[in-house]
């Protein structure tokens, strides 16, 4: 009646339940079911814009779903609970099995059963012109040559050999399960020590690997920014190739190549290329080419002709023909604060409504159009503003649809007056820009290693059969049997031979 004993007993009961095969099976199936909602509802990790859209479309249900962590299924408490329980169950099952297997590896094959006739596969025959001892020895060596582990057991006049093989099956099984634990641990830690950052650079622009140089940066929990190796990447040239002949796919991209110059601090610069399936590996980080677009070079002058802005501005692609949208903000230097919303068409065309669009993604007939807004850009009120968006609240539209003036339309090299004599805008030319993803995942290699070990373990555990064979010889006859499967034919022939 000791309550402490009761508690331990209860724990033991709980542990036995948790590590039972049935619980493991139920947890596995539960995990499969729990993974489903993540494919039905957009996830913050893979589709953050989808989540915002979902919140906008389903004002009532989205917060309820969110309270169940439906937008972060794979890091949610309930999903984590299932897989953590599953892995505890797995470890609790595999550890005793490992000990048991080590014991089995050291042990002899089991004693020959008294009556081989009762076993499902069985053969009996007579050999003439040889002693029982010689026949058994032939059997023993035949089994040995088939890589069986053999042991001799005699019972009176009956001399027998017991043989077993396929120990690798259980080894593979254990390797598989331990490797899965390894994958889980490596994935868990890898996320913590690594980082992922994004940066867009246009042709001629350089990027240095330091925290402030990233457009966005997601460090892992244990990430230390002093571990960033200083290096620079300069985009020399970006080439996109589009399909020109296949009428079903005009304008579909067929190749993206970024030619870059990289330089690790204190070393010689190197020429490299980055392609979609060929990331650049540099100083422990991986650099991926994830996106590209156009960066028109624009110069803006005040009425006296002084340059107040000149830069290549990254425009975000809006469709597959790269109609692109960009924003230029001019807080200083002109009589008023100006905001320009630009539309760039690499190959301009206009529909019957008069609206322009791009009909081909490459630069055949590029055109840049600006809507001009004047007023407060909102840069001074301390609220962070996206460089890709212009908040037109509190601003007056000076040029563009539904205003006094048409939108400003420019071909490369052309200039135009800004409204109200504010100055001029020049479209100097177009550069390409690329958006690079820079990652470091120090345990990535470990994940791969464990995953491949799991695969190897799986192959071994599923396809190496475990077999027990017995050969039993008396002066009159030879009896032999495998425990399962087909009797080993070569063995019988060899036994018949002497």
């Amino acid at each position: 009646m000791n309550p402490n004993l009761g508690f331990v007993g209860w724990l033991r009961w709980f542990w036995r339940q948790l590590t039972s095969m049935r619980t493991a099976l139920l947890l596995l199936l539960l995990l499969a079911i729990a993974a489903v909602p993540g494919s039905l509802v957009p996830q913050r990790s893979s589709d953050p814009n989808g989540v915002s859209q979902y919140f906008a479309d389903h004002k009532d249900t989205a917060p309820i779903l969110d309270s169940f962590q439906m937008f972060d299924v794979y890091s949610s408490a309930w999903f984590s609970a299932i897989y953590i329980l599953l892995f505890i169950s797995l470890i609790g099952c595999v550890l005793p099995r490992t000990k048991h297997h080590f014991d089995a590896l050291k042990a002899q094959p089991p004693t020959t059963p008294a009556n081989l006739r009762r076993l499902p596969a069985f053969a009996e025959f007579t050999v003439t012109g040889s002693t029982a001892e010689a026949v058994l020895e032939a059997g023993r060596s035949a089994l040995k040559s088939e890589r069986y582990r053999v042991a001799r057991y005699d019972r009176g006049d009956t001399i027998t050999v017991s043989a077993e093989r396929g120990y690798m099956r259980e080894t593979g099984n254990l390797v598989f399960h331990f490797a899965l634990v390894g994958v889980l641990i490596a994935v868990g830690f890898g996320g913590g020590f690594g980082f992922a950052g994004q940066r867009a650079i246009y042709e001629g622009q350089a990027f240095t690997n330091s925290l402030i140089a990233f457009d966005s940066f997601n460090p892992g929990r244990f990430f230390d920014s002093s571990t960033l190796t200083p290096y620079s990447i300069t985009l020399d040239k970006f080439t996109a190739t589009y399909e020109e002949h296949n009428t079903n796919a005009i304008g579909q991209p067929t190749d993206y190549t970024a030619e870059v110059t990289t330089q690790i601090k204190g070393q010689e610069p190197q020429k490299n290329t980055i392609k979609v399936n060929e990331p650049l590996r540099i100083a422990g980080t991986d650099v991926y080419l994830l996106g590209n677009g156009y960066a028109p070079t624009v110069t803006i002058r005040d009425p006296e002709g002084n340059v107040i802005f000149t830069d290549s501005v990254e425009f975000l692609p809006q469709d597959k023909n790269l109609t692109s949208l960009g924003v230029i903000k001019l807080p200083d230097g002109l009589a008023e604060q100006l905001g320009l919303i630009g539309f760039f068409y690499p190959t301009v065309s206009s529909g019957h409504s008069g609206a322009s669009f791009s009909m081909y993604p490459d630069l055949i007939d590029p055109q840049l159009a600006f809507d001009v807004y004047a007023g407060d850009l909102g840069l001074d009120d301390g609220v962070p503003r996206s460089v890709f968006a212009l908040d037109t609240k509190g601003m007056t539209k000076l040029a563009g649809r539904n205003s006094d003036r048409e939108a400003i339309e420019l071909k490369p090299g052309e200039s135009a007056e800004l409204p109200n004599g504010l100055g001029t805008v020049t479209f100097d030319g177009v550069k390409r820009f690329v958006s690079l993803d820079i990652h470091r995942d120090p345990t990535q290699g470990w994940v791969l290693l464990f995953a491949l070990s799991a695969l190897a373990g799986l192959l071994i555990s599923l396809f190496i059969p475990r077999r027990r064979m017995w050969v039993s010889v008396t002066e009159n006859s030879v009896e032999m049997t495998p425990l399962s499967g087909v009797p080993s034919m070569p063995l019988k022939t060899r036994l018949n031979a002497p």
Binding site: S46, E243, Q252, Y288, A451, A454
Partner: protein
């Protein structure tokens, strides 16, 4: 060149479908004939199913299936030549590469399934040949997709055998109770335990291939998208399928789950494969949406 070849490809495909249709009818007739032999004891039925010279219909059907398969292969290869690339990039061709592992009693199922899929593929999912977008230009495309297709083939047969197993279990139960079963055509098939063994063997092969697909996919994803696993819709479903079949394998060694229950798991698993292959490709948004549908 591209046009002519792709037209021949379509022609070959339709011819293959016609042959499959005939084979399907013959296999079914052959199965139906077996329905008359209800008197035959189960033990005998096993040998009957493996090789019996009288089963002319099944042999003709098998020959037609092989012929159909060759035509289908031709169609696939021609499509590949027309596009000058490996021809299983989207679902249209994806469906063509259906594995043949003939156990004659499965003929009806296999030809039926292939016919259905091809019919669906040719009418609903025909997509003009277009070049591959940069993200798909990798040898991993060949490895990843080929192995995934192969795994799907094994799972399909595992599904068929598990279905047969469930029906057979029902028939055996009613036969034991002395009742006359509507499932008499099953007398010519192996018994339920044997069917379960066949199913298990095919499914574990499928499972290993699926594991490989998952790993290969992760390696490729790391190269193309910058991360090896990101819970993209298709990745989620690949994971779900893997988990279900892992459950199936464990179920076989769990007391109370062997037999009927594990057969149901195998069928649920294949339903998930089909779901992943059709619904997820077409209706779900994700990085794997390449097919042009």
């Amino acid at each position: 060149m591209t046009d002519a070849l792709s037209q021949y490809s379509v022609l070959a495909l339709y011819s293959a479908m016609a042959l499959y249709a005939i084979a399907f009818v013959l296999f079914t007739l052959d199965l139906a004939r077996g329905a008359g032999d209800e008197g035959a004891p189960v033990g005998e039925a096993k040998t009957v199913a493996i090789a019996q010279p009288k089963r002319k219909l099944a042999r003709i059907a098998l020959a037609l299936t092989v012929l159909g398969w060759l035509l289908q292969l031709t169609a696939t290869v021609m499509r590949g030549l027309a596009a000058s690339r490996v021809p299983w990039a989207n679902m249209y061709v994806f469906l063509l590469v259906n594995l043949k592992w003939d156990m004659k009693f499965l003929g009806s199922f296999v030809t039926g399934l292939v016919l259905l899929l091809l019919g669906l593929a040719a009418t609903r999912y025909y997509v003009e040949i277009v070049p591959l977008p940069p993200a798909l230009q990798s040898y991993w495309l060949v490895i990843h997709v080929f192995v995934a297709t192969l795994a799907t083939g094994f799972f399909a047969l595992g599904f068929a055998l598990s279905l047969m197993q469930l029906l057979q279990t029902r028939r055996e139960a009613s036969a034991a109770a002395g009742a006359k079963s509507k499932l008499a055509f099953l007398t010519r098939l192996p018994d339920a335990a044997q069917l379960e063994n066949y199913a298990y063997r095919l499914i574990i092969i499928g499972f290993v291939l699926w594991t490989f697909t998952l790993i290969a996919g992760a390696i490729w994803a790391e190269k193309a998208w910058g991360r090896y696993w990101g819970w993209d819709t298709k990745e989620v479903w690949t994971f779900i399928i893997w988990t279900i079949y892992a459950g199936y394998i464990h179920a076989r060694s769990t007391r109370g789950w062997r037999g009927t229950r594990s057969a149901w798991l195998a069928m649920v698993g294949f339903a998930a494969v089909m779901f992943n292959f059709t619904v997820v490709n077409i209706f779900f948004k994700g990085l794997h949406a390449y097919s042009g549908l």
